[in-house]
């Protein structure tokens, strides 16, 4: 029997080639002959993000540097690429290595800590839970690194744990926290702003441009008694943090006719959070960079019906608007989407 690989003439009845050990019954063996294929999207992604190439290049560069022998030794602790990439989610690498119990333990501990941090947003507990989530994540990563290199000394393991935590912090947590700081910044209500109570926590999206109808958190720079022009006497101007609905955006013409709000001549579908203190008469065009937000939730102005007063306090500049409030997370009994 002639070997298909090396051409060696074997004795009849042989199962393997005597020279190269290739199976001689290969022609009729049951083997899948269709190769795995990459999808067009995967190929495009590989072109855009050549992760594999960059990984090998980094390894080569680090290994080529003779001056940094210690660093080279530490980089040898990098696990193989498929495992290394999966360190981004705690437990994923364990599932990949067929260690489902550890995988479930790390993953669900992490999820529990993150959820606890979410529900405690705005309090010190949020930071504590988030720190615990980070610890679980870095422990999962360190567990993988330690499993990959079992012969390392204790000092090496400590250094590795520090490196793993630092890399995770920089690559995963710092960008995520930056993102959350932009789109889900917790804001604690400090005073009685109906319908919210002191201590309520609201998530605020700082990156979104305010639109008509959005409930926004904003700050009024002045707090205390102040003479309102045309009003004739001092009123208590409520300053500080406030929350209410955007009724008009720059360029809108606002009219208030016997308690009904008209924007550019049409009745507005939006009302302030507490519609009672709407001015009887009001007519103004919103200047550039200023939004109409009537401070209906703030205490102290309920009985003031003067149009001049509302023009002054209702025109809020873009810089004073913190962001759009979209979710109340605390207390849990009040968990709801802010509309």
């Amino acid at each position: 029997m002639r070997c298909a690989n090396c051409g060696f003439q074997n004795m009849p009845g042989s199962e393997l080639c005597g020279r190269c050990s290739t199976s001689l019954g290969l022609a009729t063996a049951v083997i899948d002959v269709h190769p795995p294929r990459a999808s067009a999207a995967a190929k495009r992604l590989r072109r855009l993000l050549p992760v594999q190439r960059a990984y090998h290049r980094a390894r080569e560069v680090l290994h080529a540097d003779d001056a940094a022998a210690r660093a080279r030794h530490l980089t040898a602790t990098l696990p193989p690429l498929p495992i290394f990439v999966r360190l981004i989610v705690p437990g994923w690498a364990h599932f990949f290595l067929k260690q489902p119990i550890r995988g479930h333990l790390f993953l669900w501990s992490f999820v529990a800590c993150v959820l606890a941090a979410f529900f405690c947003l705005g309090s010190i507990w949020s930071g504590i839970w988030l720190g615990m989530a980070f610890s679980v994540h870095s422990s999962a990563a360190l567990d993988i690194v330690t499993q990959t290199f079992t012969d390392a000394e204790v000092r090496d393991r400590i250094v590795r744990s520090l490196i793993v935590s630092a890399v995770l912090g920089m690559v995963v947590y710092w960008p995520v926290l930056r993102l959350i700081g932009g789109v889900a910044q917790p804001h604690t209500i400090e005073s009685d702003l109906t319908p919210f109570r002191p201590g309520d926590v609201i998530l605020v999206n700082r990156w979104e441009k305010p639109r008509r109808g959005d409930v926004v958190v904003y700050t009024v720079p002045y707090f205390g008694p102040r003479l309102i022009p045309g009003h004739g006497h001092n009123v208590f101007w409520y300053g500080g943090g406030n929350i209410d609905r955007v009724l008009a955006v720059p360029g809108d013409h606002v009219q208030c006719d016997s308690g009904q709000l008209l924007i550019d001549g049409s009745p507005s579908p939006w009302q302030p959070l507490n519609p009672q203190p709407l001015p009887k008469t009001l007519s103004m065009t919103m200047p550039d960079g200023r939004y109409l937000i009537l401070p209906s939730a703030a205490p102290g102005q309920v009985n003031l019906q003067d149009a001049n007063f509302w023009q002054t306090v209702g025109s809020i500049s873009r810089a004073d608007i913190v962001g759009r409030a979209y979710l109340q997370t605390h207390p849990l009994s009040q968990f709801h989407v802010v509309r």
Partner: protein, 262 residues
């Protein structure tokens, strides 16, 4: 009757792919594995890598002991830029055909494209050390040298051409140079291929691609036109020519020449 071989008759202008497509399916079942390997090689020589891959698989469905089928599959996966898949498949094939020269070289090439030069070096070295060398291990080794920016790539490629003087070897070397952004060196090899096989559309197409990468739009247009003369239904050449005509302009040509590959 060789002197009549290059006469252009209407029916001879049909591509190999078109001929295969028109073949009735009932007849296709009658063919043996050697027919499909030959069809795959024909497709490969026409630059139809996807079709060649299918034909190699078809040949292997009939006989899994055809080494050329496994090697061809890996080479086609590399040509289709599916490098991790090619590496995986070459490993599987090497389990079946231990220390096969071409499979080792193909694995080296796939590893080289994924950037794992260390393992690629080991694979190429193992291929070169085997008996029964041909041109492919030298092509793979040349690519490795090119990836490492070592100057002996030319020596390896010349060695490959010494082993096999076929125009396809030259063209594959040209494609490797193009992949690593050395279009000038690639053009040199593809020109040699065109000189050897001016009646093959794929040679003209590759030459056009190299010229285009160097910003030689006029020459590229001529090459694509030659390609379409030889094979009027060459879709890639038609597409490249259309793009070239749409992007024509002195400034664009100048910029392409300025920032084109070396």
């Amino acid at each position: 009757m060789r002197r009549f071989d290059r006469l252009e008759f209407e029916d001879r202008q049909q591509s190999a792919q078109t001929q295969l497509k028109h073949e009735p399916l009932a007849r296709a079942e009658d063919h043996d594995e050697h027919y499909w390997v030959k069809a795959a090689i024909d497709d490969r020589r026409n630059g139809l890598h996807e079709s060649a891959l299918r034909h190699y698989s078809r040949a292997l469905e009939m006989d899994k002991s055809i080494v050329a089928g496994w090697v061809g599959q890996v080479q086609m996966l590399i040509a289709l830029a599916e490098y991790p898949e090619a590496e995986l498949w070459s490993r599987k094939a090497l389990e079946l055909f231990k220390n096969n020269v071409d499979l080792l070289a193909a694995r080296g090439q796939a590893l080289c494209r994924t950037g794992d030069l260390k393992n690629a070096q080991a694979s190429c070295d193992a291929a070169i050390n085997q008996q029964g060398l041909n041109s492919f291990p030298w092509v793979a080794r040349g690519e490795l040298m090119l990836a490492r920016n070592e100057d002996i790539d030319v020596y390896c490629f010349d060695k490959a051409v010494q082993f096999d003087n076929d125009w396809l070897v030259l063209l594959e070397i040209g494609a490797i140079y193009l992949h690593y952004g050395r279009a000038a060196k690639g053009l040199q090899r593809t020109r040699a291929a065109v000189e050897r096989a001016p009646d093959h559309a794929y040679c003209w197409y590759c030459q056009g691609v190299c010229e285009l990468a160097l910003g030689m739009t006029g020459a590229a247009e001529k090459s694509f036109n030659h390609c379409l003369q030889v094979m009027p239904k060459h879709a890639l050449a038609r597409k490249s020519l259309d793009e070239l005509r749409q992007n024509r302009g002195v400034m664009r040509g100048f910029l392409r020449r300025l920032f084109g590959s070396s």
